[in-house]
Symmetry: C2
Subunit: 597 residues, 2 copies
């Protein structure tokens, strides 16, 4: 069992420096996000997460969501916790005020969501999927659909889901075969099976609103023939209340490695040819709605990497402070808490530095999303959108890869106890393992980065970011405290620049070489960008220390942490330049049937 306390100081610094929340409040739409409000929101979210959600995390793991003849029962306490969350008004925090949301910055929403995901990753998936549905409806739904569904989805009274995957259509969404037929009343009839549907069925809300990708019979093949439909579990009656049951059901739950309390459903639509759906957006343009759903969801899944690593880090620290074992190496003194051993310090500092770099990178991306949506200046919006687009796959993949790695370190710090389920350490490790997979595997993210994002706007956005990093490194070079960061960050961004130029310069007939370098390029990108946003915080910490404001211990530790990241974590990533640019020859030296033993 592990406790959780929201890392409020670090969240606040990341919002200040990486997300630029003070700048955001100068945007009219976010003028209410004053420093006091931000503190109050973080504080209250941290309490709900720590007191209500975190204690249910182990319960959820051991009980799991239970399926019985189409009905899914959530573990004990989950309904009450969800109700508390809804009644606190948390679900609408960042959604449009037009339909009952509070319109606060997405960056702040990320900090709040981080607390839910740290406390109880499985439960936090319900609002996460709902968020995707709200985004898709907000941007692509008819006024009628918005009026009927958005208020309840935004309040959290109803939950939304995303129905994409089919057995033969995972990463290749264009291969889906779920059918939609036009009905005479302007609605559609949906028929098909979807798998891996997160919170496809549960007992937390009065209705469940499925957004389902399907194909009209006269649609073109592939991704150009996909439409998006809103398919509610209960058809709303004349008062907008859950009425007649729609022809859809949950045929079963998956038996998974982790996030046991998150029901992963097989969904059957239209077994009786009576599953009613409404078109969202235009026919055959469903991919646009899907990308709207997935884009923010990808950032939020990256955030899960941050969150689960934070939870594991807190558990590792608590254990290392308590567990007494052996004298320090080279000492004949008494046994000490293992946090005193350099081996354990390496692990804890690596966890701390990496989590804080991940958080900074993720919140920075959130800030870019906010500016892209709401900045009054069109150029600023375009720049911010470019940065958000560029960083989204990096956040998703790098943070979730690190989530796996750091939850594994927590197990290792626990020694034998780390392998025992009751310690709680295995659950974080098991839960973390889904995040590199869903919402587009990390491989898909890497291909998105080298394929689409490097080429976007002639590479303007990555060039701008790398120039910012170089300028920053130049500005702190030679500084007594921050100088060593400059050295490693310069090497890192140099490697990143070389790799990006090489990848972007590959012709289409070198597509294999590009794809071969994609994954380590994303790792290099994440490490350098994360190190950069962390170092920005270190400079701010230095400024505050010089000015005598803020908590001096926290600020001094931030500088040490950023230096540790630069000195210990950047060099192996920087060395990926060679592997990235080596080409694909050896990748294809073996025939497909020659890999087997």
């Amino acid at each position: 069992m592990s406790r959780y306390a929201a890392p409020l100081k670090d969240m606040r610094l990341a919002l200040d420096v990486a997300a630029g929340i003070e700048d955001l409040t100068r945007i009219p739409q976010f003028s209410e996000a004053t420093p006091d409000l931000v503190d109050a929101v973080l504080d209250e979210a941290g309490k709900l997460a720590a007191e209500t959600m975190a204690p249910l995390n182990a319960v959820g793991d051991s009980q799991g969501a239970q399926w019985d003849n189409g009905v899914v029962r959530m573990p004990e306490g989950f309904k009450d916790a969800y109700d508390e969350y809804v009644n606190g008004g948390w679900n609408g925090l960042t959604f449009t005020t037009e339909h009952g949301g509070q319109g606060l910055p997405f960056a702040l929403g990320l900090a709040v969501q981080e607390t839910w995901a740290s406390a109880n990753m499985a439960l936090s998936l319900c609002p996460l999927l709902n968020q995707g549905a709200v985004e898709a409806l907000t941007h692509h739904g008819s006024e009628e659909l918005k009026r009927l569904y958005l208020p309840k989805l935004i309040s959290g009274e109803w939950a939304g889901t995303m129905n994409l995957t089919e057995p033969q259509a995972g990463s290749d969404v264009g291969a889906l075969t779920t059918r939609a037929e036009r009905a005479e009343d302007g609605t559609y009839r949906i028929k098909g099976q979807k798998i891996y549907i997160t919170f496809g069925e549960h007992d937390l809300t009065g209705n469940i609103v499925h957004l389902v990708l399907a194909r009209l019979s006269d649609a073109p093949e592939g991704t150009r023939g996909i439409s998006c439909f809103l398919v509610p579990k209960f058809l709303p009656d004349e008062n907008g209340q859950p009425g007649q049951r729609n022809d859809l059901r949950c045929a079963g739950l998956e038996h998974k490695l982790g996030i046991h309390a998150s029901p992963t459903c097989t969904m059957q639509f239209g077994d009786n040819d009576a599953c009613v759906g409404w078109l969202v957006g235009e026919e055959n343009k469903g991919l646009r709605a899907m990308f709207t759903m997935m884009n923010h969801a990808r950032i939020c899944v990256g955030l899960q990497g941050v969150a689960i690593a934070e939870r594991a880090y807190q558990q590792a620290v608590a254990f290392a402070q308590e567990r007494v074992q052996s004298a320090e190496y080279g000492s004949r003194g008494p046994s000490v808490p293992i946090i005193q051993h350099a081996l354990i310090r390496r692990k804890l500092m690596t966890m701390k530095a990496t989590v804080e770099a991940m958080r900074a990178l993720t919140y920075a991306t959130g800030g870019a999303v906010d500016r892209a949506h709401a900045h009054p200046d069109a150029d600023e919006r375009a720049k911010a959108q470019g940065l958000a687009d560029l960083l989204t796959p990096v956040v998703k993949a790098w943070c979730t890869d690190m989530g796996v790695e750091l939850t594994s370190e927590n197990i290792q710090i626990h020694g034998g106890m780390g392998f025992i389920e009751e310690s709680g350490a295995p659950q974080h490790y098991r839960d973390a393992r889904i995040a590199p997979i869903y919402e587009g595997t990390n491989g898909i993210q890497a291909m998105d980065l080298v394929g689409r994002k490097l080429a976007m706007d002639d590479g303007r956005h990555w060039k701008a970011l790398f120039a910012d990093i170089r300028d920053f490194a130049g500005a702190i070079a030679g500084d007594d405290t921050l100088g060593s960061i400059a050295e490693y960050l310069s090497d890192g961004v140099e490697a990143l620049q070389h790799a990006a130029v090489w990848l972007a310069g590959n012709d289409l007939d070198e597509a294999r070489a590009t794809a071969a370098g994609a994954s380590p390029f994303l790792t290099l990108f994440g490490t350098v960008a994360g190190g950069y946003y962390l170092a920005l915080q270190a400079r701010e910490a230095q400024r505050r220390l010089d000015a005598g404001t803020g908590d001096p211990v926290f600020l001094a530790n931030k500088i040490a942490t950023a230096r540790f990241f630069a000195e210990q974590c950047l060099p192996p990533a920087t060395a990926l330049l060679g592997p990235i640019t080596r080409g694909a020859e050896l990748f294809y030296a073996l025939e497909p049937d020659q890999f087997a033993a």
Copy 2:
């Protein structure tokens, strides 16, 4: 569910080149290990592993070992499989012929054990622990104890265990408090609790022979006051058959992340003050017996990393060959099996190259153990012992770290299916996670390497190994096919040499700096040494290709694989030189109570 086939060709090449099995057969003790015999043994072991043990792997995971009032029942089929293993004469393969063993090389035994561990890691732990007990008894037991116990332990009719850990004494074995009192008849009375005892109780064998570390009441404190006792579950009667029940019991099993079919027992000794034990070796010299038990066990746990990664690799290949998804990047062609995607190729080639490097390194260590025990020349024995001692912690830690990483890659290759327990991918990932922990955590291994092993014999052994690697790299430099390996291997061994010189040169007052660099030093060591033994195989493959002997596809693929490892896996490890030698200042920048949020 995943199938398994023993990778016989690669095992054989690793035995030939890395372990030098042909040289071993020139040692009188091993003269029977002819090439034909080796092939026959591997072939038969592979069959037993694939046909009998592998199909039980998922059964063992889902049923687990079951405790009921002190009795432990193994999952369905395990007893039959174990009997088949014993009746086949497998258990005595490498043990002394004096008590019924076959006296074959340990290196060959490793190849055979690898098949068991790949097929069914949980079941393979029973013989593994037994092996430790046999080693300890063989080297430290009285003639009487040997005569009574060794034949049955060597045949596998009885099983042996290692009882070290107590709640307050994990890595710090000197903190143990289990008591031993001298009885008038020359035996001892044991009293205390041990935890995490692998196969401490089960229904596979007629008796279980516990080797228990305990402390006499007049013993010195710490590790100098530990004695080793043989404590059988049933006291042998006058015919050497299991007689009266000894005063010990299994008080419960742990609920673990993985290896569910391996009963991890809490053992109670002497609840009724009547637990009879016999001294093994001398009083207060129990640590020597423990090190005898653990040394080979450490190599064998490293081998588990190889084995579980091999199993995961095979599953990943099979899935990637079958699963059709999307066209190749940059192509407008049809969807292809995902093994055709460069992203997946990177993962598969990384898995293949790393597993083969791990296997080569592990078998090389096995060959060194054999020469150390049996070579007629004393100088050769000493050199071999030095190499074995040096490589043992590297094998244990590097291979098990990689085992975790590569089983995680298998999950990722599976996409959504990788997170579903029925696919079998999660089990390998869960099972693999114990290996970096038990038999001395990987942190303990890293400290053993930088603390004891670098200093041993004035560093003669690491200097000799690094010189061999440099010489080899020099010899293949400029070679058309192998030249690129030389480049990366030279850089790697240069970094390794610098790091070792720096670590070995640290004074005792720089102990924190040494400990701070220990873990990445071990990673660098493992990667370079693994890459070296893999490259030796590539050179041999080239020779055989030139000579027109052997399977040309296998040999050409071996060269491609070794090149892939050099080009893709060595550079990030080489870049660890900086982090290793950076010192411990930042590790201790935070006070212990400043890590928490």
